[in-house]
Amino acid sequence: MSDDRHPAFMPLILVGGLVFGFGLAYSHMARPEVVLDFLQFEDFGLVFVMFGGAAVTGVTFFLAPRLLSRAPLTGDTFERRLKSFDRNVLIGGAIFGVGWGLSGICPGAAYASLGIGNVTILWALAGMFIGAYLQGYWRTRSETRETAATGAD
């Protein structure tokens, strides 16, 4: 599959990541203290980060499907791929909120935090990988059980 990819695919992903990471560091979101200050109502700057980002993606997501036919590097269309809503969005969102409120760090900001030299953030990254593994472990097991139950019928 990687053979089919456009030679500029990976370089473009890297450039996008560089800008994304630089932006996270510039906005100070890579510092858990600044996120905690927001959550404790001491500095509302985070609102501008999220809406600044969403404004740029919003304009692009609106215009790209109307002005462009296909993405040059993959040939894919610019259709909206919306995630379906179910109670997992609420349950997962609440669990994420507990973690974000406790640590002041989220995944993208954690990678950026490593980039600004914050080696202490490896604690959070370790926790994220363990958490992602645990939910994968639980959910694979419950899926297997459901399949087995259906199969028995």
């Binding site: 800008v19 560091a25 979101m29 509302f44 909120g97 370790a126 939910q135």
Partner: protein, 163 residues
């Protein structure tokens, strides 16, 4: 515009560090997402990397479903780290480390790792990409984690845990 109309005092109280670093940083985060989207049609979030990278070491189907994207997600994450490192070199003049206690980072990270994957997205997937595409699922997701995070942080602070 609204902000300019507010009395300066209130603005200074709400934004003790000004707003330019946040607004410029946010625009750049959006720009990074847009660069990838315009070239590839992919709206990239940061948290799928956790599961897609686990597919290198675990055969579980939950992680293996991300095999086709795991290589570029590693590159995306390396880009984020390098981009932040460029900031550190240019503006920060060296490494910065947090004073937030390791147990908060580890335990918080654990909840973040579970929650973001169960909830189908994080602050970049739901917050920047999802809100940008006016997805109701993402807006509900953001409101949920924002409300719970505020309550959690205030509780932790009220219990005297700092930083």
């Amino acid at each position: 515009m609204v902000i300019e109309a507010l009395p300066l005092q209130v603005t200074a109280e709400l934004f003790p560090n000004g707003i330019s670093r946040y607004a410029v940083g946010g625009l750049l985060v959006g720009l990074g997402t847009v660069v990838i989207y315009l070239g590839t049609g992919i709206s990239a979030g940061a948290s799928t990397f956790l599961e897609s990278t686990l597919s290198y070491v675990s055969e579980r189907s939950r992680f293996q479903q991300y095999v086709s994207s795991r290589d570029w997600r590693v590159v995306f994450t390396l880009g984020i780290i390098l981009g932040a490192a460029v900031y550190a070199v240019v503006y920060q003049g060296g490494a910065w480390t947090t004073d937030v206690q390791p147990w908060r980072l580890l335990l918080g990270g654990l909840f973040v790792g579970i929650g973001t994957r169960v909830g189908k997205g994080c602050t970049s997937g739901h917050g920047v990409c999802g809100v940008g595409s006016a997805s109701k699922t993402s807006i509900i997701g953001v409101l949920t984690f924002l409300a719970v995070a505020i309550i959690t942080a205030q509780l932790v602070s009220a219990l005297g845990v700092s930083p």
